[in-house]
Amino acid sequence: MEQVSTTFLASLRVQWRVIRALLMREVITRYGRENLGVLWLIVEPATFTLGVSALWTAAGMNHGSSLPIVAFAITGYSSVLMWRNTASKCNSAIHQNFNLLYHRNVQVIDVFITRIILELAGTTASFTLLSLFFIGFDFISPPVDILQVIEGWLMLAWFGASLGMLLGAATAYSELVDRIWHPTSYLLFPLSGAAFMVEWLPPPAQEVVLMLPMVHGVEMVREGFFGDTVRTHYNTGYMALVCLCMTLIGLVLVRDAGRRVEPP
């Protein structure tokens, strides 16, 4: 690694080594070794999803449709966690790993990749386990088209990752980013498609809501889950384009953030 010219493969090895070390560090500092430990990674989002499902069921909000409320809540809320948690964890990533950036091999991008991997893995695990649990106990029926669910889920993961990188790098420029993100994420929640289907909205509202990329992802997941019983509106190409742009801008910002951040 300390050769005058470093090959791409050697750099990759260093990067993987660093990310692995950071993953272990994150898991220990965030979840500790006591009680549930790393299981919190799954329990945390699962508790949220379960709570929301319970509230919605209790409130009898069946949204004027015959959709099973539990499956609706799980798909909706897990999708929100996908981008919201990743973004907020990336927002605090530089600050909380500041000291570790002192080591030459630890770069800002490693810190983001680590947090993105952890959040995506945790949310995916909780979504999968919850779905299996409810399917196993016959609360919900299995997805009609599992591949479609996975496709939508991967798109949401991409969106979450690019949003996290973009916002996380932006915090290197101004602390305002994190402050503004909190109210924004609350405002985005009701608009994100978690609690409604695009079909239920009047056409002018549909157009507005479909400008938000995550709505497309949720619709895709739900189409996979419910099949022909629902009418969905989404455009994979549009969502991919937005994610691609966000990823590119994010990567440029991350590179520049690495130069701006000066560890203690």
Binding site: E2, V4, R25, T29, N97, L101, Y102, P264
Partner: protein, 217 residues
């Protein structure tokens, strides 16, 4: 070999740009060592941080042909919520070293006792300095960066650091930064002076010392 070529560093402050290092050049061969003298605020620590890669130069470049340490005994490179032992594991993983054979040395050197398994945030200044030094010794670097002004501790700790560094590892390279000419005279074979952002190289420590005395009075 490690060389810095035309390295400049400017910081943005509220009163405009401040140049701390101005087109600095320095070269160090494997197995050799050099001392850098400078007053407080001369940019010694900045130079060390740039050498270690913790900070990037504004312009110029650094070529590292050997494995360069992070600034020695610097206690800030820890994760405070992790225990001393976890920090050892983390550092070893980052530098691709097996941590297991190092535990005994770290336990012995730091004399932390049960505190090695407590979060670093509960450590005193002296404890974290001892841990920091031990961690730098756990990874066998080719070239050590030593910021003498950072090392706090009693004379016994200083002696033990000297043994580890200048006796047991005397085949390595090091760059020692200090405002104390005697430290540099004691350990270094050549010296340079950092003054007003420029580096002045001298063939002998005595000549460097003479310049340091006259330039910084």
């Amino acid at each position: 070999m490690i060389s810095i070529e035309n390295v400049s560093k400017t910081y943005r402050t509220r009163h405009g740009q401040r140049t701390i290092l101005d087109r600095v050049n320095l070269k160090l061969e494997r197995g050799r060592n050099i001392g850098i003298l400078g007053r407080n605020g001369a940019g010694k620590s900045t130079l060390i941080r740039i050498l270690s890669g913790a900070e990037h130069p504004t312009s110029g470049r650094i070529v590292r042909g050997m494995n360069v340490s992070w600034p020695l005994a610097f206690g800030g490179a820890f994760q405070p919520h992790l225990t001393g032992l976890d920090n050892l594991k983390f550092v070893c993983r980052i530098y691709g070293v097996d941590y297991r054979p190092k535990v005994a040395f770290v336990e012995e050197f730091t004399e932390l006792g049960v505190y090695l398994r407590e979060p670093v945030s509960h450590y005193s200044m002296g404890m974290s300095t001892r841990l920091a030094f031990a961690l730098s010794m756990a990874v066998e670097f080719d070239c050590f960066l030593i910021d003498e002004t950072m090392v706090v501790g009693d004379s016994r700790f200083h002696e033990r650091c000297h043994t580890e560094l200048f006796v047991k590892r005397k085949d390595r390279s090091f760059i020692l930064v200090s405002h104390d000419p005697n430290e540099i005279r004691r350990h270094c074979e050549s010296a340079c002076v950092l003054h007003n952002g420029k580096i002045h190289t001298f063939p002998s420590v005595d000549e460097a010392y003479a310049f340091y005395e006259s330039a910084t009075v």
